[in-house]
Amino acid sequence: MSSETKQILTTDGIPLEISLKKAERKNKIKAFLLVAPLLLFLIITYIFPIGEMFTRSIDDKMITNMLPKTFKSMETWDGKELPPEEVFASFLSDFKILVDKKEHGKLAQRLNKEKNGFTTITKKLFRQVKRNKIDETQSIKEQIMKVHKRWRNVEYWQAIKRTAPPYTSAKYLKAMDMYLNEDNKITQVSEDRRIHRILWLRTVEVAFFVTVFCFLMGYPIAHLLATLPMKYSNLLMICVLLPFWTSLLVRTASWMILLQQQGVVNDFFVMIGLVADDNRPEMMYNKVGTYVAMTQILLPFMVLPLYSVMKTISPSLMRAGKSLGGTPFVAFWKVYFPLTIPGIGAGCLLVFILAIGYYITPALVGGASGTLISNQIAYHMKSTLDWSFASAMGLMLLSGVLVIYWIYNKLVGVDNIKLG
């Protein structure tokens, strides 16, 4: 409020704003109570798991808690030469505690992830400790170094030091086929081991083209729906929605029946002589299958927002365009099309976001060249049990979607979205 505006009072002399707030408070509380259950539900099922996912993806506290003394004594070590006696001593004392708790295996596993070769030398050290072969009155450094030659290699001690921080970005780097090398520099993995980047690119590519196909097919349908008389448009609407009401698995399975090499579509192609019987094209277990099935499944998400926007465009606008001298194409392109942009934006955003995280369909009809990043996430959730890696990829996907949303907002404006 500018200083010039005089404070307005009610007839009773209370400032108007305060009075207004008081009068509205009850309604506000009522409104809040109405949404409170949903809010609570969202916090428990959405906000909280995402937070949990995030901490899991960067969490590296386990080893920090296992080797507290070692990391403390390592603080003064410059990391160039072998560490001093003190570090060896505290490492041994940490290690003994772990042996008592039978947790030395976990340590070996974690360190081996950092650098290959730790499993062997930890086992060797464990045997020495178990047999009480290490004499604490003499130089512990010398004794540990004798256990295995790798304990004399400074690189292994550097690896231990790298695990000191309680948080790590390693999972995120791994998801982009990168890692932190010995000098703490971000490095690319060798070319033959890069799998994730291909998956990311493929995911974006598939989502993009599925959106394009959905748009190309959905726009005319939506236009027809919006302009047909009620009795026909209702029937057509049911045709559009029918797949929507069918189980996703059933639809995907039916695509498998249609698209496989001995399937209906191939049979038809052979029948009309388009392809030879012994040269049936593969339309499944590759990208083609993913495209076809996903486009069909996501089509209603394009048609519905487009339809709801087109329904509000008065037919007299097109007529006006024509009566003013525009050819039907000009009238469409200059008048009708710009008015459907809010629907196009909503539909494309919806389809793209759904497509980028699609899982079941690519898993079933995608084969090796048609799987997407979500399949990789599921693989790590279920098979390798590397949940923190799966969380990292999931979060990257989520932030990607948010970035797309942000760009869209900058370009078109979210206010212009019309979902229905």
Partner: protein, 361 residues
Amino acid sequence: MSKNIEFVKFDKVDKSYDGKVLVVKDLNLDISEGEFITMLGPSGSGKTTCLMMLAGFETPTNGEIYLDSNPISNIPPHKRGIGMVFQNYALFPHMTVYENLAFPLKVRKIQKDEIDKKVDKALSMVSLSGFESRMPAQLSGGQQQRVAVARALVFDPAVVLMDEPLGALDKNLRESMQYEIKHIHENIGVTVVYVTHDQGEALTMSNRIAVFNDGKVQQLSSPDKLYEEPVNSFVAEFIGENNTFGGEVIDISKGVCKVKLNNGEILANPISVNAKGDKTTVSIRPERALINPKDKMDNNQKGKIEEVIYHGDHTRLRINLLGNKEFILKVPNSSNELDLKLGNEINVGWNSQDARALDPK
């Protein structure tokens, strides 16, 4: 240059949407150049269909429409060069006022500075100069309406069609817009075909009015003739107020006939009755019947006042006259000497010339 009196010509036009019912039946209508013609009629009478056929959005089922002697049935709407003002204005909501007006000029590939000039001229014609950069949503209903008119005129079309353009405006605005459109028409002399169901609008604005009913033109004439001399009882009923008596002709001579009602006899002007025994509806305008007439009138009847309604400048009386309980009289409020009380008996008189014996209802 002499004006083409058949500038727009509907020649035996039929129109049916479903192949069962004719919406427009055998329409013959000539519109001369520079004329303001109104198609007036109740909804569903076929007037809008006629307009849409002229604009090219509907095709005649039979017959032909000529524009400046050229048949236009096979010309698509965008090549007809007919301006149109739509019922809901149909301004392009994503374009500014300037872009809306420039649209018909741009699609005609007119030079930019020429466009600017024409848009300026059209906007000043509807007194909206300075509104170029507004969006339609930022304008009031009346302003949007004026932009729509300017847009329909900006490319100098030979004919402008207006489809109930004032329907969405409130009463005062509607009246002032009526005059404004009338003046624009007078100034630039464009041919206007105007569709409305509001008879007041039609009477104020038009050179000629075509009254539509049931897919047919019932009467085509100037506003005053339409009001004073309706040719059938539909027109008499539809235009203005009207008192009617149903009866049978019992005597007919030149210029006057005697009509027998259920309880009385009146003299009337035979319009569509020819012989004794014809059934007829006699129509009298409320202002043509006077109370206690000073001049001699050939119809004089006694009636009982059933209702008195005060209307500011005049008072309306509902009278029970010759068995018609809905006989309306309009009494100017300056004549104070009358005793207009409920239940009073009064003398009502009218000339037989003003009582038109039309076709029976």
